[in-house]
């Protein structure tokens, strides 16, 4: 072997280029990279869009061809897809024998329809069209109804709402796997140590990895935008100007930096691949929830909303795609995203400077050895959230009662039982499942009757700063279902299953390394966020807090289940009888009594 290798001082630029090239070479040799970066944006999204469009078009054609029943007085000529039935217009809709009821008295037209029935809604459109035609025919004063919004613009508006979330999702899927593979994976494989034991500044190594993640994020975004552009023309017949696409891309440039920095920091923080997947799952969801700002009615791009992280840029992109370009808020959105990106980069660099983070000496095995299951608690929450979002919400949209049964019994309960078993903890004691004293059951019953006071008081306080809809539950629960079924589905089941999931499994994992009060508070926040509504967050989190404290007091999950179930059942009965219970001082007193019942006053009462 040749003695003494010649050495030269490599410039930072050359070192960066060498590392980036090697990282790219390694990552591109991974078949999964091709899937996440190329196949998903170029093939999967257009395919899903095309299939979705096909399914919707066919469903629409089938719905258009169906003959719907109209109870109309007096009769008029109806198109072929409407059939007149002779019955009382209002009663026939209420008993379901007609899809729509129409009564004409002079120029006055009364319509009855059922907003829960797609057929009824469809029938309303057809009837209005037929009535307009009839007026034309009888030379009556024509009611002119014209939508000034051309169909092309409506389609473009829809695309504008979807595009930011789609771009974000593509960025995240493109960058997430890259970050996990290049950073967490390298830690697990030990090659990061090889790299860090070379004569290279550690910051350069990390910056090179960041650049690669950023590169994959950008490439995924460009491919996604290109595919969206083509799909928009092919599927929707919508010709988006190339300048719109380019402007959207320019807007998303700082977003790519922001997401790449966050992904790199998260991947570096995770000690191993499995922990990385758990840790980054919320990262996949949170930006999408924020990008859903484009769907919030009335939320527009202003200099104030523009500074919101992710949401601001999503709104800006919506405006650009919809063709509404207002320079100042767009600039604010762009610059504020640059600011967020710089903050994320700085935070990431700080995190990456820590040797325990870089070398992964905080491994999940070590954490588990120390009895620290907090990451597993977050993982449980992420999985439950995904299950609720993709399965539970879909099932509830189809049928709210049976969807709730499925969500609670087939999703929440198995997750709560599996989580402790999965991490190797005893299931019963982690869930605090066991017999409770008669006194605790009695307290649980009393607490259940007091809890509505807590929720209503917090909702009233929230109303001082956040204007919420008049009724959060209007139209949510089916009016035609028997009360016992509603009480069971929306009162008893969530009481039992959600307590098992939150005050049982989540709390049981979280409390392993956190103090009981901190664990109760963390569980309450998770419980509030889980209800997927800004307006319900604080009331439900407050309920979660009180129920958590109560579970500390009793040391068992059962009495809390009773309290939760009673609280929900009381609310269901009140809703069924149309009782509009708002803020009142007796409710405050009731809530205070509930808190007093729940708090473990004596030190050491909590059996945790």
């Amino acid at each position: 072997m040749k003695e003494g290798a010649l050495r030269v001082e490599a410039s930072p630029g050359r070192v960066l280029r060498v590392i980036v090239t090697a990282e790219l070479r390694q990552h591109l040799r991974d078949p999964l990279t091709l899937v996440f970066m190329v196949l998903v944006p170029l093939v999967l999204y257009p395919a899903l869009g095309g299939v979705g469009h096909l399914v919707v078009s066919r469903a629409q054609a089938s719905a258009d061809a169906r003959v719907l029943d109209v109870a109309i007085e007096p009769a008029i000529d109806l198109p072929a897809n409407l059939r007149a039935v002779s019955a009382d217009p209002e009663a026939s809709v209420r008993d379901g024998s007609a899809d729509i009821g129409v009564r004409r008295i002079g120029d006055q037209v009364d319509l009855w329809w059922d907003s829960r029935s797609p057929d009824s809604i469809d029938a309303r459109g057809r009837v209005v069209e037929a009535l307009t035609a009839a007026r034309k025919a009888s030379a009556e004063r024509q009611v002119r109804a014209e939508d000034t919004d051309p169909p092309e613009r409506r389609t473009r508006e829809s695309a504008a709402r979807f595009l930011p979330a789609l771009l974000l999702f593509t960025m995240l899927t493109g960058g997430l796997y890259t970050a996990l593979d290049l950073i967490t994976g390298e830690k697990e494989r030990g090659s990061v140590e090889t790299l860090l034991s070379t004569a290279v500044d550690r910051r350069l190594v990390l910056f090179a990895k960041f650049l690669v993640v950023l590169g994959f994020t950008v490439v995924s975004t460009v491919l996604s935008l290109a595919s969206s552009w083509v799909s928009a023309q092919w599927v929707l017949g919508l010709a988006l100007p190339p300048t719109t696409i380019l402007l959207s891309l320019a807007l998303f440039a700082p977003m790519a930096v922001l997401l790449a920095a966050v992904l790199v920091a998260a991947a570096a923080w995770a000690p191993d691949f499995k922990s990385g997947q758990v840790l980054t799952t919320p990262l996949l969801i949170l930006p999408l929830v924020m990008a859903a700002a484009t769907f919030v009615p009335g939320l527009t791009l202003t200099p104030f909303t523009a500074v919101l992280p992710i949401a601001g840029l999503a709104l800006a992109t919506r405006e650009v795609v919809a063709g509404r370009i207002d320079g100042f808020p767009l600039a604010v959105a762009f610059l504020s995203t640059c600011g967020w990106a710089a903050a994320a980069l700085a935070g990431g660099a700080r995190l990456l400077g820590r040797e325990d983070v870089i070398l992964g000496t905080r491994g999940s095995a070590q954490r588990r050895l120390r009895g620290d299951f907090r990451a597993d608690a977050l993982g449980l929450l992420a999985v439950a959230f995904l299950a609720l979002w993709f399965i539970g919400q879909t099932a509830q949209a189809a049928d709210v009662v049976w969807g709730t049964f499925l969500t609670q019994l087939a999703l929440f309960v198995p997750l709560a039982l599996l989580a402790p078993w999965w991490v190797g903890l005893p299931v019963r004691s982690t869930l605090r499942w066991g017999p409770a004293s008669a006194t605790d059951w009695a307290r649980g019953a009393l607490l259940g009757l007091c809890l509505p006071g807590v929720g209503l008081t917090v909702q009233a306080l929230q109303g001082l700063v956040l204007h919420s809809p008049s009724s959060l539950f209007e139209g949510v629960f089916p009016a035609d279902s028997p009360l016992w079924l509603l009480v069971f589905a929306f009162g008893v089941l969530p009481g039992v299953c959600e307590e098992l999931l939150f005050r049982g499994a989540f709390f049981g994992l979280w409390r392993t390394r956190a103090g009981p009060v901190v664990a109760v508070m963390g569980t309450a926040v998770a419980f509030g966020a889980f209800h997927l509504s800004v307006f319900r967050f604080f009331p439900t989190a407050a309920l979660g807090l009180v129920l958590g404290l109560f579970s500390l007091r009793t040391g068992r999950v059962g009495p809390g289940m009773l309290a939760h179930a009673l609280n929900n059942s009381v609310a269901m009965v009140a809703l069924s009888y149309g009782l509009d219970v708002g803020f009142s001082w007796p409710m405050v007193v009731l809530g205070a009594a509930g808190v007093a019942l729940a708090v473990p006053w004596r030190r050491g009462v909590a059996a945790v």
Partner: protein, 245 residues
């Protein structure tokens, strides 16, 4: 070449309490010698070597490698050492040739490709030069790892239990390579808990247990100190706290 003085490093133990992995370790190693860090698992050998490789920082104490302080001149230290441990993995989706060129370039070798080619021959890995590293056998991977560690021909080699998982043939190749390096004036710090390896390879031994140095010297000196003949007995006497006689 290596001077370690009163090195301390604490970690968090499984109970969440701070525990001293290295507790006031001092020793030195010069050019043209192989110094063995001998100790059971968890003795503090790996942590000491990781401090010397600048992968972790010491809480207190000093250490210099080839005249460079590990705290203040980390890059120069890393340029001076060839570091190999059970944790230093290969880049699985690169070939051995690519790994060697990559690391040689990062280490500042001007003739990176020539160095890679020479090492492919030296360690008899040319046959697998085009296969991805994650497809190689354990022994072959270790050969590539050793070649990777010495690709820049550093004056100091720090090898942490390099024979774990190796068959006897590859281990013998490693020993002959290290003896050759010693003969060429390289300083080798070699950790092991296998007495036979230490006995065959090391010029001097540093016996380490529970983060503390129990004894330092040549094998003959340690035998004299303890009155035992076999290294295993020497080691057991030191570890049990009977101490040198």
């Amino acid at each position: 070449m290596i001077v370690v003085d009163q090195l301390r490093k604490a970690f968090v133990d499984p109970e969440g309490r701070p525990a001293l992995a290295v507790d006031g370790v001092s020793f030195s190693a010069g050019p043209g010698e192989i110094v063995g860090l001998l100790g059971p698992n968890g003795a503090g050998k790996t942590t000491t070597m990781r401090v010397l490789a600048t992968l972790v920082s010491a809480d207190s104490g000093t250490a210099t490698v080839a005249g460079h302080d590990v705290r203040t001149a980390a890059v120069e230290v890393r340029r001076s050492i060839g570091y190999l441990s059970a944790n230093t993995g290969l880049f699985g989706r690169l070939t051995p040739r690519e790994v060697l060129i990559y690391v040689a370039t990062l280490q500042g070798c001007e003739d990176a490709e020539a160095r890679a080619e020479a090492l492919l021959d030296r360690f008899d890995i040319r046959r697998f030069a085009h296969a991805h590293c994650d497809k190689l056998s354990t022994g072959m991977k270790q050969k590539v790892s050793i070649a990777r560690a010495v690709v820049h021909d550093p004056p100091v080699l720090i090898f942490d239990e390099p024979t774990s998982g190796l068959d006897v043939l590859v281990a013998q190749e490693l020993f002959s390579f290290l003896e050759d390096a010693r003969d060429r004036g390289r300083c080798v710090l070699y950790s092991t808990h296998i007495m036979g390896e230490a006995e065959r390879l090391c010029d001097r031994l540093v016996v380490i247990h529970r983060g503390r140095v129990l004894a330092t010297g040549t094998l003959a000196q340690l035998r004299d100190q303890t009155g035992e003949t076999r290294l295993e007995d020497v080691f057991m006497r030191l570890v049990r706290g009977d101490g040198p006689r």
